[in-house]
């Protein structure tokens, strides 16, 4: 049996290629069934996301399944085989296992450590299982891959810190307030980025979102997204004391929140802390506000810096994660090799048993009548002789199975004992 992974990802193929190769959820079941019909197929799984299309396959030995995958992809996606081949990578056996573990642990992702890929892999697995395309080897391997991903997540900091600006804002808010439950948010200026940040905040528990915008229609539109309240743009400063988090992204050419106003707001709030996020360029909030106590002001560059620091931290964690994966891969390989040696052990035992049975039968006639006790003793004697002989080779086979050069030893044993060619 051979295990291979063939596919494209964001590193080997530009988006124009990936989008043509990607399977959508409707075409995926048909593709799986088509894959099952290919000659030499044993098990298969198709992972298709916006950053990768990969096909994991186990096939009968020597079936030349690599060619089949090129052809299969070209056929099912209606592209020329010569066009797709240059973008494809192919991993086999140990390398393929390592690749699968890295993908599951989000080390192969565009944003290293992002959590979605594991979920995507899990649904790909569920779909393949549903269509009877995985059983046995891939089943075990994927379960192992999910465990490895879990281990990487719990033993390294890879998924800890925020790596997008809007998510960094939420992380900082948690750093300031602890919990975001019953915190109020105001969005000044309805932009894409502030919408994202507000969405994250809302998901983390912020209760009330106020929206204000120069054009009323846009404010209404945005307020509907997270049943926010609309505040008249002219009157929004008087609402500031009500809210804990302010996100500004208006196109105003000058500061719309200045230091003196902020002082009054803080007095009115009796110094309950505030978090101001200014993602507008030019900036909307006077920078010196950050020197006031109990106010934390972050502009777009500050958030960007937080993201960069976090990314550097992730690179470090990724190294730790790679070490975990190397360890897991060699453990998996050892297990697989141990399994490979099982047929040899079985046929060695059969071979010896055959010799014993044949020789006993041949000699039995010459011994004449025996009591049942003597019959038993004869059986026991011959069995114990072959067991003693087999013991050395079998334990050595088990030991050699996980060694890199182990297959030479296995071949020797097969030859010496004349085990089925």
């Amino acid at each position: 049996m051979r295990f291979s992974i063939t596919g494209v990802n964001h590193k080997t193929a530009p988006v124009e290629v990936r989008e043509r190769l990607a399977y959508d959820e409707h075409s995926l079941p048909d593709a799986l069934l088509e894959l099952k019909r290919r000659p030499g197929f044993r098990e298969g799984l198709i992972l298709s996301t916006c950053n990768r299309v990969e096909i994991a396959l186990t096939s009968e030995d020597g079936a030349g399944s690599g060619v089949a995958v090129d052809e299969f992809l070209a056929h099912t996606r209606n592209v020329a085989q010569e066009w797709v081949t240059p973008y494809l990578y192919r991993y086999e056996d140990g390398e393929a296992i390592q690749h699968l573990f890295r993908v599951a642990s989000s080390l192969d992702s565009m944003v290293v450590g992002e959590p979605q890929i594991l979920g995507q892999l899990k649904s790909a697995y569920a779909l393949a299982k549903q269509h009877g395309a995985v059983n046995g080897f891939l089943d075990n391997l994927l379960t192992r891959a999910f465990n490895v991903a879990k281990r990487v997540r719990s033993e390294t900091d890879i998924g800890e810190s925020a790596v997008s600006v809007s998510y960094a804002a939420v992380e900082l808010a948690k750093e300031i307030f602890g919990t975001l439950e019953d915190k109020k948010v105001m969005i000044v200026g309805a932009g894409k980025m502030s919408e994202l940040a507000a969405r994250h905040l809302r998901r983390s528990g912020a209760t009330q979102i106020f929206v204000t915008n120069r054009t009323h229609e846009r404010a209404v539109e945005m307020a509907q997204l997270f049943d926010g309240k609309i505040v008249d743009y002219a009157r929004f400063p008087s609402f500031l004391q009500e809210v804990d988090i302010v996100i500004t992204s208006s196109g105003a050419p000058h500061y719309i929140i200045v230091r003196d106003d902020m002082k009054k707001v803080l007095d009115a709030r009796r110094n309950r802390p505030m978090f101001l996020i200014d993602i507008a360029v030019p900036r909307n909030i006077e920078p010196s506000i950050n020197t006031l106590d109990n106010v934390f002001l972050y502009d777009i560059d500050d958030l960007q810096k937080v993201v960069e620091t976090n990314l550097k931290g992730r690179a470090q964690s990724a190294e730790d994660a790679e070490a975990i994966i190397r360890e897991e891969v060699s453990r998996m390989m050892a297990r697989l090799k141990a399994r490979e040696v099982v047929p040899t052990i079985v046929s060695l035992q059969e071979q010896l048993e055959n010799v014993r049975a044949a020789e006993t039968a041949r000699m039995r006639g010459k011994l004449g009548a025996l009591t049942p006790e003597q019959e038993q003793a004869l059986e026991a004697l011959t069995k114990s002789i072959i067991n003693k002989i087999a013991h050395g080779p079998i334990s050595e086979l088990r030991r050699q199975a996980s060694e890199p050069e182990g297959h030479y030893f296995i071949a020797t044993i097969r030859k010496v004992f004349r085990l089925g060619e």
């Binding site: 800890e160 810190s161 900082l172 948690k174 750093e175 300031i176 307030f177 602890g178 919990t179 007095d267 709030r269 009796r270 110094n271 309950r272 802390p273 950050n290 106590d293 109990n294 934390f296 972050y298 500050d302 810096k305 937080v306 620091t309 976090n310 931290g313």
Partner: protein
């Protein structure tokens, strides 16, 4: 001191005690329902306080401000009247957190010029002293927690303000959590220390009459308590939060450490 005047003064102290209980309950539970009763008791207390001062004045023929105890009595009365005026005029009740304990302790000290009783037996005397020590120690423990949380707060706040090495300090609790911890442990500490101060000064007055009040170390203890009172007041009513409050908590801890150092060996001095 005049007998009747002293009696009234002691009843006034007891009535102020209701106010003290209210203030402590507010600090521990954030909300206490009996402000109305506490204010009423405080008002009656102030009236009796006035009666006591008048009695004393007629007895000595002039305003009784001849010694520390009499000054404390008059001072407490003036503060009480001022508070009642402010409350009546501006309906500003949140001052009570600070005023109730202050007036109580001052009046209590004023009423201590003549010891009202002597120890029935050494067991009670020692138990009383033990109560004082236990309360103060509990108060110090809470205050230490307050100061540690405050230091964490200062570090975390600095990180967030400087917008650097966020990663390094993610292991510290969020600012909001620390601020809550500071508020709660500070309130609890204040309750213990106030009870400790009351127990301690009562013990000292019964034990050694009036001489102890002039000891600078005792003065230091009262100043520390006053400092603590100010901190609680600023936090509870003036909205001092965050960095300033954290710095103040650390300062109060230092002050308390001084008081502690000063009190080592005080018992031998007080023993007759």
């Amino acid at each position: 001191m005049h007998e009747m005047g002293l009696l009234w003064l002691r009843i006034a102290t007891a009535l102020y005690g209701v106010g003290l209980l209210h203030a402590l309950a507010v600090l521990i539970r954030k909300k206490a329902g009996f402000l109305k009763y506490a204010l009423f008791a405080f008002l009656i207390g102030a009236v009796l306080h006035f009666v006591a001062i008048v009695e004393l004045a007629t007895a000595v023929g002039h305003l009784p401000v001849d010694n520390f105890f009499e000054c404390a009595t008059v001072c407490a009365f003036l503060i009480a009247v001022l508070f009642l005026y402010v409350y009546w005029r501006y309906d500003y009740a949140s001052l009570s957190v600070c005023i109730f304990p202050l007036v109580f302790v001052l009046t209590q000290i004023g009423a201590m010029e003549t010891p009202m009783l002597s120890w029935p037996n050494p067991g009670v005397r020692n138990a009383w002293l033990l109560l004082h020590v236990m309360m103060i120690l509990l108060g110090y423990a809470a205050l230490l927690l307050t100061a540690v949380a405050s230091i964490f707060y200062l570090i975390q706040e600095r990180q967030l303000k400087r917008k650097k090495s966020i990663n390094l300090f993610t292991k510290l609790p969020p600012l909001g959590t620390l601020d809550n911890l500071v508020t709660n442990s500070m309130s609890l500490g204040f309750v213990f220390i106030t009870l400790g101060v009351i127990a301690g000064s009562t013990w000292a007055s019964i034990e050694s009459g009036t001489a102890w009040i002039r000891d600078p170390r005792i003065a230091l203890a009262f100043i520390t308590w006053g400092f603590y009172l100010t901190m609680v007041f600023l936090r509870a009513t003036a909205g001092w939060r965050g960095r300033k409050a954290a710095l103040m908590a650390v300062a109060v801890l230092c002050c308390s450490a001084l008081t502690w150092a000063a009190h080592v060996g005080l018992r031998t001095m007080l023993a007759r």
